[in-house]
Amino acid sequence: MSTTEAPTFTPPTRARLDDSVPFEWLRPARLILMWTYLAGYLWWLKYKGLTVDRFSVAFAVGIFLVCAFVGKSWRTWGVLLLDCLAYCVMWLSYEKTRGAADDGVSIFGLFRIKFPLQVTAMRNIDKFLFFGHDPNVVLQQHFWNTRVVRWYDAVAGTTYMTHFVFPMVVMAVLWAISHRQWARYMKRFATLLGVACLMFILLPTVPPWMAGSTQYHYRIIPPLHRNAGRGFYHLGMDSFRGGYQRALSNGNGIAAMPSLHASFALFTPAFFLPWIKPKWVKALVLLFPVIMLTSLVYLAEHWVIDGLVGWALTGGSFWFWHRWEDRTRVRRADRARAALPPTAEVPDAVELAPA
């Protein structure tokens, strides 16, 4: 930037923008509503428990958005409505497809395609990765105590439960603060869900707890304890139990591959990684998906390979959309350049009198 040739401009008084533009009275109202919502949410969490079913979470997000969008323009509300519609379609398709994986896919009601259930394949891959050991069995044998809930049970249980809330909270906050970032987040998220649903149909997989359970005929590993929320309930989140059991009963038991718990746990940290500068914070943040996968294996919810494939899907979704956005940006820049008349030289930008 040129410093010698730059014209200088120093007006005697420069008015602040927010002093010159009439005050937006609904801005503080928005903030108050959002803080009230946060307080209400925490109260609910403490006394009523954590909501996990899609409808309740969507409802909670909806209330937050109403608080965050008070006083915004009609167009912004219209865009929000379309976004909400897209959000609902995404979750409904996910639930519908995920459920369909159980019974196969119906082709126009004429016949049904059901893909073979994977019982031993994932277990064999895990055994190969861990030199002949079953990580689920080893972890439960060493650390699970039926009578005592230890600190690591609380960590594992809480980490497991964040899956039902964390990505949705991030979505809602992004919605409120930057629609551009929300769109970036959702494109990646929807892609991940779409591919995962396809895999649930093509590759129905028996999870470790089912593979070892005496209630099923597979019994390829010793019986494992399945009580993912145990550590979380121990922290006093008792009222959550009913909702979680209900959510479990609605879910698809053989949708183990890929692990969306592992995918989501990597998803949010990966999204925010570019804004995190200190390397040690980056490393700390990336520890979360590792804790999640360890918890999933310890709690017998997933095989290790489910989690690794979940991470790979997250990486793939980020890679795809990153490339797509780069290309879109370059294309738009090229269009602009093509429409501009040629110039001899590009001068430096001269910034006058910084605020």
Binding site: S2, E5, A6, P7, F9, P11, T13, R14, A15, R16, L17, D18, S20, V21, P22, E24, G71, S73, W74, R75, T76, L174, I177, S178, R180, Q181, W275, R329, V330, R331, R332, A333, R335, A336, R337, A339, L340, P341, T343, E345, V346, P347, D348, A349, V350, E351, L352, A353, P354, A355
Partner: protein, 142 residues
């Protein structure tokens, strides 16, 4: 902390100077716009403009309601201002603009949009914003 790159608002006078080759500041503005487009391509800045000002330049001022509505709902990223995102003007912005003490209503609207969308830099050839604390990016003098 903002998650988005800093926004630079292309003011009405700047947009006009880029498109009008008879404008005295045309060449400087084109050169300046090129460098801004390069920054946009590197994702260092976001280029924005007030939707009505952009629409007037891209589609003309005497648009029918249906065309105005179509533009309001969706704008294609084509032509010279393909990298530019419109900041859509609502009733509340027009209402607020009436309360701004500046001669030209269009400039008042620009100021309102800058304030509402946290824009701190503006590309302009007009001196209407000199009295405000907004960082001004102007074409270098020849």
């Amino acid at each position: 902390m903002s998650l988005d790159p800093p926004k630079i608002l292309l003011d009405r006078s700047f947009l006009a100077a880029v498109t009008d080759d008879t404008n005295a500041a045309h060449e400087q503005c084109v050169a300046q716009y090129r460098s801004l487009v390069d920054e946009f391509e590197r994702e260092e800045v976001l280029l924005v403009a007030v939707s009505t000002h952009l629409r007037d330049l891209e589609r003309g001022t005497d648009l029918e309601f249906a065309h105005r509505a179509a533009y309001f709902l969706h704008r294609n990223h084509r032509g010279v201002f393909a990298p530019v995102e419109p900041l859509y003007v609502g009733f509340q912005h027009r209402r607020a603009a009436k309360g701004v003490d500046i001669a030209d209503p269009a400039d008042a609207l620009t100021l309102v949009m800058c304030e509402r969308h946290h824009v701190t830099r503006i590309a302009t050839v007009s001196d209407a914003f000199d009295g405000y604390r907004i960082e001004r990016v102007v074409p270098a003098a020849e």
